[in-house]
C-alpha cells in the first residue's frame, strides 16, 4: 500500500496489535490475581476454624484451558491437628 514498505523497515503496528490480542486474551481469562489471593485468604480462614494450619502451607492456584478454569487447593495439615479436629 505504501512505498515505505518497499524500502523501509517492516510495519510495526500489526505486530503491536497481534501481541496485544494474544496477551490480553490470556490476561482476561486468568481472571486476575486478586481473586486468587481473596480465595486463599477466605479458604484459610475456614480451615483455621477447625484445624491449625500454617498459612504458608495453603496453596491456591487457578489454572485451566480454553473451556474451563480449574481451582486447585492444596492444604497441608499436620497429623496431630487433624486428629484434634476429628
Amino acid at each position: 500500500m505504501s512505498i515505505f514498505r518497499l524500502f523501509g523497515r517492516p510495519r510495526s503496528a500489526p505486530m503491536a496489535r497481534e501481541r496485544l490480542q494474544v496477551l490480553l486474551a490470556h490476561e482476561r481469562s486468568s481472571v486476575g490475581t486478586d481473586l486468587v489471593s481473596l480465595l486463599r485468604e477466605e479458604i484459610l480462614a475456614v480451615i483455621a476454624k477447625h484445624v491449625q494450619v500454617d498459612a504458608d502451607k495453603v496453596q491456591v492456584k487457578l489454572d485451566g484451558n480454553e473451556h474451563v478454569t480449574i481451582l486447585e487447593i492444596d492444604v497441608e495439615i499436620p497429623r496431630d491437628s487433624a486428629v484434634m479436629a476429628a
Binding site: 505504501s2 515505505f4 514498505r5 510495519r11 510495526s12 503496528a13 500489526p14 503491536a16 496489535r17 501481541r19 496485544l20 490480542q21 496477551l23 490480553l24 490476561e27 482476561r28 486476575g32
Partner: protein, 271 residues
C-alpha cells in the same frame, strides 16, 4: 443531580490531567456548572494545568478531615465563572482519603454541579479505585501504544468490578478517549490505528485527540487547551468529545488524517 465522570487510564503520562482540564473547561464553556476534582493525593497537578496553583488554600483531604468546609476548598476559575477546581493535597498521606469521606464529598458536589469530573491517579491502587468508585461514566484515556492499551484493559476490568454501579449490578458507561494520536504514523503502519485500539478494548470511542504542540503550550501557560487555543485541532477534538459526553450524537473524525486524492472519509459513529 450532576453526573460523575472519572478520567482514568492505569498508565501514567497518557493525558488524564490534561484531558480532565480540557473536558471540564469545554463543558463549562457550554454554560454548565462543572467541578474538576484532583484525586492524585501527594502528586497533585490539576491545579498547575488549570493555572490555579497559587490559589490553593484548602484541599480534598482538608475537607474530608473536617479542617475546611467544602466551599472553602473550591477554587473558581478566573476565566470561566462556572468552572471550579477541588485540589488534591500535596503533602499528606493518601490514606487520609477515606471511602466515607469521598462518598460524602461526591454526594455534595453532585447537588451543586452538573458535572463532577474526577481526575484519577495512575495505577490500580486505592487512589484510582476511590476516584472511580462513584462514577456514572468513565473516560478511559489511552495512547495508541502497547503498554497504555494493556493498562486500559486492566482499568476496564476494574471499572466493571470495583465501582458502586458495577457492585449494584448496573452497567457503568465507559468511553475511550484516544490521545496523542498521529494519523500520519498510523497510516504508515508505525502506530496502532483507531480501529486496532477499538477492536482490542471494545468500548465506544468518545474522541481522538491528535498529538499536538498546542497541548504542551496550553499546560505551560496553565490553561486548559480548550481555553488557551480554542481553534487548535486538539481543542476542537476535546470540544467534540465534550458534546458527546453531553449526549450529542456526532460522527467521529480522525484529526490530521490526510485526505488523499481518494478522499478518505471516515465516519465511525460514537456509540
Amino acid at each position: 443531580m450532576g453526573k460523575v465522570i472519572v478520567v482514568t487510564s492505569g498508565k501514567g503520562g497518557v493525558g488524564k490531567t490534561t484531558s480532565t482540564a480540557a473536558l471540564g473547561a469545554a463543558l463549562a464553556q457550554r454554560n454548565e456548572k462543572v467541578v474538576v476534582v484532583d484525586f492524585d493525593v501527594g502528586l497533585r497537578n490539576l491545579d498547575l494545568v488549570m493555572g490555579a496553583e497559587r490559589r490553593v488554600v484548602y484541599d480534598l483531604v482538608n475537607v474530608i478531615q473536617g479542617d475546611a468546609k467544602l466551599p472553602q476548598a473550591l477554587i473558581r476559575d478566573k476565566r470561566l465563572e462556572n468552572l471550579f477546581l477541588l485540589p488534591a493535597s500535596q503533602t499528606r498521606d493518601k490514606d487520609n482519603l477515606t471511602p466515607e469521606g469521598v462518598e460524602w464529598v461526591i454526594a455534595e458536589l453532585k447537588r451543586y454541579f452538573d458535572w463532577v469530573i474526577c481526575d484519577s491517579p495512575a495505577g490500580i491502587e486505592r487512589g484510582a479505585t476511590l476516584a472511580m468508585r462513584h462514577a456514572d461514566v468513565a473516560v478511559v484515556v489511552t495512547n495508541p501504544e502497547v503498554s497504555s492499551v494493556r493498562d486500559s484493559d486492566r482499568i476496564i476490568g476494574l471499572l466493571d468490578s470495583k465501582t458502586l454501579k458495577a457492585e449494584r449490578g448496573e452497567r457503568i458507561e465507559k468511553h475511550l478517549l484516544l490521545t496523542r494520536y498521529d494519523a500520519t504514523r498510523a497510516e504508515r503502519g508505525d502506530m496502532l490505528k483507531v480501529e486496532d485500539v477499538l477492536d482490542i478494548l471494545s468500548i465506544p470511542l468518545i474522541g481522538i485527540i491528535p498529538e499536538s504542540t498546542d497541548v504542551l503550550r496550553a499546560s505551560n501557560m496553565g490553561s486548559p487547551v480548550t481555553l488557551a487555543d480554542a481553534k487548535s485541532a486538539a481543542a476542537m477534538a476535546y470540544f467534540d468529545a465534550a458534546r458527546r459526553l453531553a449526549g450529542e450524537d456526532l460522527p467521529i473524525t480522525i484529526p490530521g488524517e490526510r485526505r488523499g486524492i481518494f478522499g478518505k472519509i471516515f465516519g465511525r459513529k460514537a456509540a
